[in-house]
């Protein structure tokens, strides 16, 4: 019975010229988005790889110098372009792409694409995500807005009912018929996207297959939610016109208006601190101590005492190790501590802000799938922070190595300019490498969005089984 209903929905829809046109347009858009997007992703990925290795080369070939000078010379970390980012560009245009890593200082991740573009960028990019999240639901609306009312107006609904079919059976037939049609468009394109994955960048992320599957599954879930919602609304709408207006209104509110309103609200509820405050607080806390009662002078004095005691000597000059190296590393570590403290604070504010949009997924499935998709594509805030942390850890590591070398090998009495290390030391620092978060951490980070989608699905199935029998037949 279900098969028969699905077949009929398929046939009638496939023979509808309006759906033929909009379906074809959508398919062409999808193909374009995937092809061009993938090309762009590959190009950017290669460019960043090249830049990363070129900058590492500079580090290796910086010539013989004092290790602390080298720490000042610094290194760069480039954010790799995640392989799945061509499906969902997410925040990529709005987050910085590289950071300069040097001694004493946590630099900002700079140069977002949006800053270098004109106002056009704010309209977004035609990616697969945009099509799947925003345009495909529109196709679903066009497929379903009169799926019941037309049959009601034409009288075929009576005939179907006369044949002994219950409204519940008919409802499910229409849901699955529409859903299969959506999958018919979605699956080939997503499969093609999978086959076209840039292998070179895919090799950077061993879990890319799992992420891809999860992404496809997330979207499949979203489409089912949307199909159920649309069929349910159209089943109870008085006529096709009302159903179309209602569904389009719903689409405009959930895809166009609510996302903006939500993120604006989030900024109001959890105000973003300013960069000025952020840097000033760090500076002050470094100077006066995290608790405000441990100024840097006294910290340094107690460190000196401790080191002198450790080596059993009276003065710095008598130390067998380089005092500056020790002091610098201690200062570095203290700054790191303060920085972590402040950075986590800001990060938490942003997380709270983003949580509002994740919670909003419970009232707007579009937001749920948007957050989930971004996350799996590796282009959400979580990934940005992961990169920032990885880069900062790398900075700490190599600065520490430089300081340690200075402490141990730059013997007291040797002038700064006379102690030099060379390539052997530079190559002992491996090039920056950043592993994308694994799927499990992504999913646990996105549990709200997943829960929201599941709840929508369960709720809609529940609603339809409760109310399908009450669908008016006349």
């Amino acid at each position: 019975m279900l098969k028969l209903l699905i077949k009929k929905e398929f046939l009638t829809a496939l023979r509808d010229i309006r759906l033929q046109v909009s379906g074809t347009v959508l398919l062409i858009l999808m193909l374009t988005a995937v092809l061009v997007g993938r090309q762009g992703q590959k190009q950017i990925h290669e460019e960043r790889e090249k830049a990363q290795s070129a900058m590492y080369d500079k580090w290796v070939n910086q010539g013989a110098k004092h290790p602390h000078s080298a720490a000042h010379y610094g290194q760069f970390a480039f954010k790799p372009k995640p392989v799945l980012s061509f499906l969902d560009i997410g925040l990529d245009n709005y987050t910085g792409i590289s950071v300069f890593l040097e001694a004493h200082k946590q630099n900002e991740i700079l140069f977002s694409a949006a800053q270098d573009s004109n106002g056009m960028t704010r309209f977004g990019e035609m990616t697969a995500a945009l099509i799947l999240q925003v345009l495909l639901p529109l196709l679903i609306i066009f497929l379903t807005f009169n799926i019941f009312s037309k049959e009601r107006e034409e009288g075929t609904l009576r005939l179907i009912h006369a044949q002994g079919l219950s409204m519940r059976q008919l409802f499910m037939g229409k849901v699955w018929g529409t859903y299969l049609m959506v999958l018919l468009i979605f699956l080939p394109v997503i499969l093609m996207a999978y086959l076209m994955l840039d292998q070179q960048s895919a090799s950077m992320d061993p879990t890319v297959n799992t992420k891809f599957m999860l992404l496809a599954a997330g979207y499949s879930l979203y489409f089912l939610v949307f199909v159920l919602l649309c069929v349910l609304i159209s089943a109870f709408a008085r006529n096709s016109g009302i159903s179309l207006i209602g569904l389009l209104g719903l689409w405009i509110i959930s895809c166009i208006i609510l996302p903006k309103a939500t993120s604006n609200l989030a900024d109001k509820v959890y105000p973003t601190p300013t960069q000025f405050e952020f840097t000033r607080t760090i500076k002050e806390k470094v100077r006066n101590g995290i608790d405000g009662h441990n100024p840097s002078d006294s910290r340094l004095a107690s460190l000196r005492e401790k080191v002198l005691k450790e080596y059993g000597v009276e003065t710095i000059e008598e130390l067998p190790v380089n005092w500056s190296g020790i002091a610098m590393q201690a200062g570095e570590e203290y700054t790191d501590q303060v920085y972590d403290h402040e950075f986590t604070k800001v990060e938490n504010i942003f997380k709270e802000q983003n949580k509002i949009s994740e919670w909003a997924g419970f009232i707007n499935p579009y937001l749920a799938v948007r957050n989930l998709s971004m996350s799996l594509a590796g282009t959400d805030f979580y990934h940005h922070v992961a990169f920032a942390r990885a880069a900062e850890n790398y900075r700490r590591q190599f600065v520490k190595v430089m300081n340690k070398d200075m402490e141990l090998n730059h013997k007291p009495g040797v002038a700064y300019g006379d102690y030099k290390v060379g390539e052997e030391m530079w190559t002992s620092i491996p090039a920056f490498k950043y592993d994308l978060p694994d799927p499990i951490s992504i999913l646990s980070n996105q549990w709200r969005s997943i829960a929201a989608l599941s709840l929508w699905l369960i709720g809609l199935f529940f609603l339809s089984s409760a109310y399908a029998a009450k669908i008016p037949k006349l």
């Binding site: 309006r18 858009l29 374009t32 061009v36 090309q39 762009g40 190009q43 950017i44 460019e47 900058m55 500079k58 610094g74 760069f76 480039f78 997410g90 925040l91 709005y94 987050t95 792409i97 590289s98 300069f100 900002e108 700079l110 977002s112 694409a113 270098d116 573009s117 004109n118 106002g119 056009m120 704010r122 309209f123 977004g124 990019e125 035609m126 945009l130 345009l135 207006i245 389009l248 405009i252 166009i256 208006i257 903006k260 309103a261 993120s263 604006n264 109001k268 105000p271 973003t272 300013t274 960069q275 000025f276 952020f278 800001v346 942003f350 802000q353 983003n354 949009s357 959400d380 805030f381």
Partner: protein
Amino acid sequence: MLVTLGAGIYGIYFGKFEIDKQNERIAFVKDYEREKFDSLLVWARLDTTITENKEKYEQAVSPQGVGYTLHFAYCIANQPAPTAGLCLGQRDLYPSYYRITMTDLSRQMNTGELANPMKLLTGNFDLSYVFVFLFPLLIIALFYNLYAGEKEGGTLSLLQSQSVPLRSILLSKALMRMLVVFGLAFLLLVLGFVLQGITLGDNSGLLFQWLVVVFGYCLVWMILMGAIVALRRSSALSAMLGFGLWLIFTLITPTLINLFVLANEPLPNRTTMIHELREESGKNWDNPKSYVLNQFYQEKPEFNDGDSIDFYKWYYASFAVLDLKAKDMKAGFEQQVNKRNTLLEKWMWLAPAAIVHNGLSKLSNTDSDSQKDFMREVEKNHTELKNIYYTRIFAKEQFSIQDLENIERRL
């Protein structure tokens, strides 16, 4: 219509909220820096016969002390234009102020404002957004059944039986709806101006420009809808056609253009600039002092006193030399960026929504060009600031109270 009105009022409110926040930040930082500088002025006026004061006084009047050791920074703000709150444009992407010292500018500009990228991505719900995205929807909703509504409601034959031609009846209906749209736009704009605290009297020209852009845009949509109505198709099809146009012009064309341009014209790698500057900075340190000073004197012959060994002269000249080199590099990047933006602009005609949004941003000085103007202003201020310092440093003089007051006036 009520929804549009509500959205418009929310947009005005939100834009005001954002701009007030930016103004607050700017005021806060300015006050902070001024306070710091005021204490410096107090030091400069101290009685130096008292020994404890001597050190403070010397720091305050030493160009090196003021400019570098004391970390005194000079805040240059991009004050929002009157209507910035109605169209936030690109403002949220850039810092609304820079704190600069007289060291090299190029590395000081590498800073941003803390912003949640998620918010940048979704964009601002300001009045311009309501005009660009929601107004066309309102127009579609008002116009789609202009003809079909009569036909489907069964009143068409009644209308046709009147002695007035159908065309003029429909035209007058369209005019009524047009008045409604224009009236609402006018109301929202005036409301926006008043609520943002923009005095209408002084800014009537600006209001007029806004009206021209917004009305023009609405008119384009009404003409499009008129053409759809003239096809005399069913109301459902007319609505779908209108909505399809809306999709194409506000969603599909801009994103498609972005897709092609962003994918095919990747941005230049600005990181190389940081790298090259560190190389240059290394050269400044590694070479004899004359390496820097000779370059500096060539550029600024007025400071050339033949001295090529003085540490302070070398130290400060090296910043100027760095900036000089950065300027060339930057020009190269700008050129590449411009090439891309010209490409975007070349195709922009396909996306009227983007054109209008850009136009409104221009009126509000919140577009990327205004940001570039601001950067030039920062540069100019930095140069002037540097001149005050360099005059004293190269003359090996201390700041006079006059100098400090001169600087203060710029704060």
